[in-house]
Symmetry: C2
Subunit: 144 residues, 2 copies
């Protein structure tokens, strides 16, 4: 099983280690974004030994390879999200329940080009994220 994940790892030029696969599994099952420590706590029972630094390292590498996406959180801690959408797009993240919804790519690419043209600079990356409360949390009193 997890052939999908193993393939994704291979495609990213990364070894398909059991820990990496477990991280991907766990994060895929997660309804929203999660922190390295949370994932570690849930995963460490599955392994004789699993270091927190390993989780940090892998999440960072997986995110750099585009297998995972990173959430920009107001508290500046690290959170990751499993997103199978391979198209260029962005996210709406709920600050209450942590759910993540896809936002179709908007006109940023055009904006990038315009900025490049106008000021002669070179845009290397961009950040676009909407923060708020999802439907459920907006209705209820944003319980946590």
């Amino acid at each position: 099983m997890d052939q999908r994940h193993a393939s994704a790892l291979k495609a990213a030029g990364m070894k398909a280690t059991p820990k990496r696969l477990a991280i991907l599994e766990m994060l895929e099952a997660e309804p929203g974004y999660a922190s390295p420590e949370e994932l570690w706590k849930r995963l460490k029972d599955r392994f004789d030994r699993l270091g927190l630094p390993t989780v940090y390292r892998n999440l960072e590498e997986l995110s750099a390879s585009g297998v995972l996406s990173k959430v920009i959180h107001p508290n500046r801690q690290l959170y990751y999200y499993f997103c199978s959408n391979r198209e260029h797009h962005h996210h709406f993240v709920c600050l209450s329940c942590r759910k993540v919804e896809d936002i179709p790519a908007c006109g940023i690419e055009a904006l990038e080009q315009e900025v490049s043209k106008r000021n002669g600079g070179k845009v290397l990356s961009h950040i676009l994220q909407l923060n708020g409360l999802c439907g459920g949390c907006a209705d209820n009193g944003e319980k946590q």
Copy 2:
């Protein structure tokens, strides 16, 4: 002098203390974004006593009031930028020389509304920032 800054502080409901004014002055003179510690090092000679926590606190408060803007940096440290543009807009930041250029507001507001409508959520804030190399740094070998 700095009547502008004093007024801005008053408008934000903040006392116009000498240290706040100095922080605004220094940051306005800065060509790009700066870190709390950098500002502190440059400012502490002007005062008998000036604590680093004071600089942190003030930058955060000033940013929350909209008098300053915060830069989202890949290294996740805090950087601030004095931006006199009171219109809603975003920034292109040079990761090499730290220069910041304004980007006119693009269609994010429309996107926000669409997301709200479609998923019933409530967008509380958004982040949009382009990262890259400005004209000068793209030409030269991005010297630092």
